[in-house]
């Protein structure tokens, strides 16, 4: 049964603090800075003039933009898929509150508390050709230096870093499913897989919406883990938009760097808005 009661007229006031924060820390800086993406701003001279789409043209001519967008999107999809798969499995395994599960939940949550740069440096050491991982496996493989594995490995490191948090959201979602519903399904003869597919997964829709959106959008603006592990290499195989932005900035091409920042913002908006809209519709339909 749908809830047809209209929201009280004062309900939107509760959104005010969030709207103020978003306006001050996102909308205003974005609007104030967007002009630099279309400017000749460099460290080489003081004058900043309007130059239209020249920065984008330069980035395309130098083979930087298309590759960076591809790497960023691929990385975001990998991070989202790995994190949600790992976290949902963990949530199902650790759903019941018991002493041992609490210990495991804490253990999996710990990486969330580590700085992303520190996490990156730790993993870079572990995954070095003469590092602990290769010593344990008895192989010689440059996990972060091979074009075929670098992006995937960095996505796994990102997943290791954030999966604890995503798992907690899924556990909260699982615990909000009425027990009576699962019992009814069991009485009707549904096995564990059918219960998961027909009852649990659809009821997890709000948690899924949040987790998919957060992991995807977070990975679109990735920088720190990549900078600490590969620095964008090998070659340009992990050179995401923010990594190129940092390199352009470092060379004094501030207008081009701003153009890349603008591209990240557009990518986030173009992905997040339709995605959340679609997932929310799916929740209502469910």
């Amino acid at each position: 049964m749908r809830n047809n009661r209209a929201a009280p007229p004062w309900a939107h006031r509760w959104a005010l603090p969030a709207m103020v924060l978003v306006t001050v820390f996102f909308v205003a800086p974005f609007l104030l800075n967007v002009r630099f993406a279309f400017s000749s701003w460099t460290s080489f001279r003081a004058e900043i003039t309007w130059n239209g789409l020249e920065n984008f043209g330069t980035l395309i001519d130098q083979d930087l933009l298309a590759n960076a967008v591809t790497v960023t999107v691929l990385y975001a999809v990998l991070c989202m898929a790995i994190q949600n798969t790992v976290s949902l499995s963990l949530a199902l395994a650790l759903q019941r509150t018991s002493r041992i599960n609490t210990i495991f939940r804490s253990a999996f949550f710990l990486p969330t508390l580590i700085s992303p740069l520190a996490a990156g440096y730790i993993w870079r050491g572990l995954l070095a050709p003469d590092g602990a991982v290769n010593s344990f496996l008895g192989i010689e493989w440059a996990w972060l230096g091979e074009p075929s594995t670098a992006l995937l490995v960095v996505a796994f490191i990102d997943a290791w870093k954030w999966s604890g948090l995503i798992t907690l959201v899924y556990i909260a979602g699982l615990n909000s499913i009425p027990r009576s519903l699962l019992e009814s399904a069991t009485v009707d003869g549904a096995g564990p897989w059918t219960r998961f597919r027909r009852v649990v997964f659809p009821m997890l829709a709000p948690a899924l919406t949040f987790n998919v959106a957060v992991t995807l959008v977070g990975a679109l603006s990735a920088y720190d883990v990549i900078a600490a592990t590969t620095g964008g290499g090998p070659g340009d195989h992990t050179r995401a938009l923010n990594v190129v932005m940092r390199q352009q900035w470092g060379q004094g091409f501030f207008g081009s760097a701003s153009a890349l920042g603008f591209t990240v913002t557009l990518l986030v908006i173009a992905t997040a808005v339709p995605l959340v809209w679609w997932l929310r519709r799916r929740e209502v339909a469910g």
């Binding site: 460099t42 080489f44 001279r45 050709p129 290499g233 090998p234």
Partner: protein, 415 residues
């Protein structure tokens, strides 16, 4: 009586305040690789002047990027330690942001140093106290009694060393920047009297010209890679790894510069004897044993305009201290060679540093990219070259585009 005593104390305190110099806090952005004797000089200046220096350490890995990033926010230190190359200087927009030091006494005492470094359009902005970074080939004397003198020799040595199971040349692609050194060394022959650098900066030649020295340098590098002359972990290894491999005899050669001597010493556990017994240094270019030099960031100081008269005066005092009577003391303590002509060479210089000086005196050519803006992308392109994503010609074309972008932005004549 008590009132009189109070007035007397107040007057005496006021007198003290008037005679004591006012302490000024100076911010100094410095390279984290500053050697201990230089850090000691900062302390000595504090002691002598009564001012306080707040050191802001910029990691030497990614030093240029990080400095530029901080600089771009509009933040300005009172003293900036940075590269003295014209390309490095142009990226700071010196006319707008830096104080003109032309006319300071140390400039006349430095020979023609400021003709090639630390100055733009006839104005001197830098105070260079460090001997130029001398780029060449560190080699393990036990593995390689006769070091190569040209890239042809290098290829021959590579084949011999490989067959004996030693890594011929250790490259640190994980630190990214060291991979550009070998191609720059290759170009020393073509850049005598900075001829090639001037042609590129003046736009009479381009990096991507068919058969250009630059393309030839990248091709020579690609050939070494194809011949298996580099370490297996070229993509992930850091420059500290290269120093260790050289000292321990796992690798025979590393292309690096002379400011890496402290890192070399650290790799030998701080034992100078181990370094001197195992490591030598020579020049290398496409055809002759030339070294390439570039005025380095270590000990090169700029005074950004801050608008605060007291701090600006104290910062100038710092430059005068570093280039004044204390300089000889610094040279003696650091055991590096002086750039001020009236200061004697230090005694007890390590054998490897003597090699550096000998190679420098034997034939030194300024790095071809010293005057060319926009060359910061070379290191990233080397990563792509190593990964096989770009061939030498494509890399040269892309770099030329970045040079054009920077040269136009800097308003260089001819662009």
């Amino acid at each position: 009586m008590r009132a009189l005593l109070g007035v007397a104390i107040a007057l005496s305190l006021a007198g003290c305040a008037a005679s004591a110099p006012e302490e000024v806090k100076l911010t100094l952005w410095h390279n984290s690789a500053d050697p201990a004797p230089l850090l000691e000089m900062y302390k000595k200046f504090e002691k002598q002047s009564g001012h306080r220096i707040e050191l802001v350490s910029i990691p030497s890995d990614g030093f240029e990027d990080t400095t530029q990033t901080k600089w771009a926010t509009g933040e300005r230190p009172d003293i900036l330690e940075y590269h003295a190359t014209v390309s490095g200087l142009l990226a700071l927009n010196p006319a707008e942001n830096l104080r003109d030091l032309t006319g300071e006494a140390y400039i006349a005492r430095s020979g023609d140093l400021y003709q090639a470094a630390g100055s733009v359009n006839g104005k001197v902005y830098a105070a260079i106290t460090g001997f130029p970074q001398v780029f060449g080939l560190y080699y393990n004397k036990k593995l390689l009694p006769e070091p190569p003198k040209s890239f042809a020799d290098l290829s021959t040595a590579c084949a011999t060393l490989k067959s004996s199971g030693v890594t011929p040349v250790f490259e640190a692609g994980g630190s990214i920047w060291p991979t550009q050194i070998l191609p720059i060394l290759y170009l020393a022959d073509a850049n005598q009297a900075n001829a090639y650098g001037k042609a590129i900066a003046g736009h009479s030649s381009t990096l991507a010209d068919s058969g250009s020295p630059f393309v030839a340098g990248l091709s020579a590098y690609a050939k070494l890679k194809a011949d298996g002359c580099f370490n297996k972990d070229i993509v992930t290894a850091k420059f500290e790894d290269s120093m260790k491999a050289l000292v321990t005899g796992k690798a025979a050669m590393v292309a690096q510069h002379s400011d890496m001597l402290p890192a070399l010493l650290a790799a030998a556990g701080g034992d100078q004897k181990i370094v001197d017994e195992n490591v030598g240094f020579v020049g290398l270019s496409s055809g002759k044993p030339l070294v390439t030099y570039a005025p380095g960031p270590i000990g090169t100081f700029y005074l950004p305009k801050t608008g605060d008269a007291a701090r600006e005066k104290a910062a100038l005092d710092f430059v005068r201290f570093m280039t004044g009577p204390a300089y000889a003391e610094y040279i003696a303590a650091s055991k590096t060679f002086p750039v001020l002509k009236d200061v004697p060479d230090p005694e007890g210089v390590s054998s490897v540093l003597q090699d550096v000086k000998k190679a420098y005196d034997g034939g030194a050519v300024i790095a071809f990219n010293s005057d060319i803006p926009g060359m910061g992308g070379l290191a990233q392109l080397m990563s792509e070259l190593i990964a096989g994503q770009k061939d030498p010609q494509a890399a040269a074309t892309q770099l030329q585009s970045q040079v054009e972008q920077a040269a136009k932005a800097a308003g260089l004549p001819g662009w």
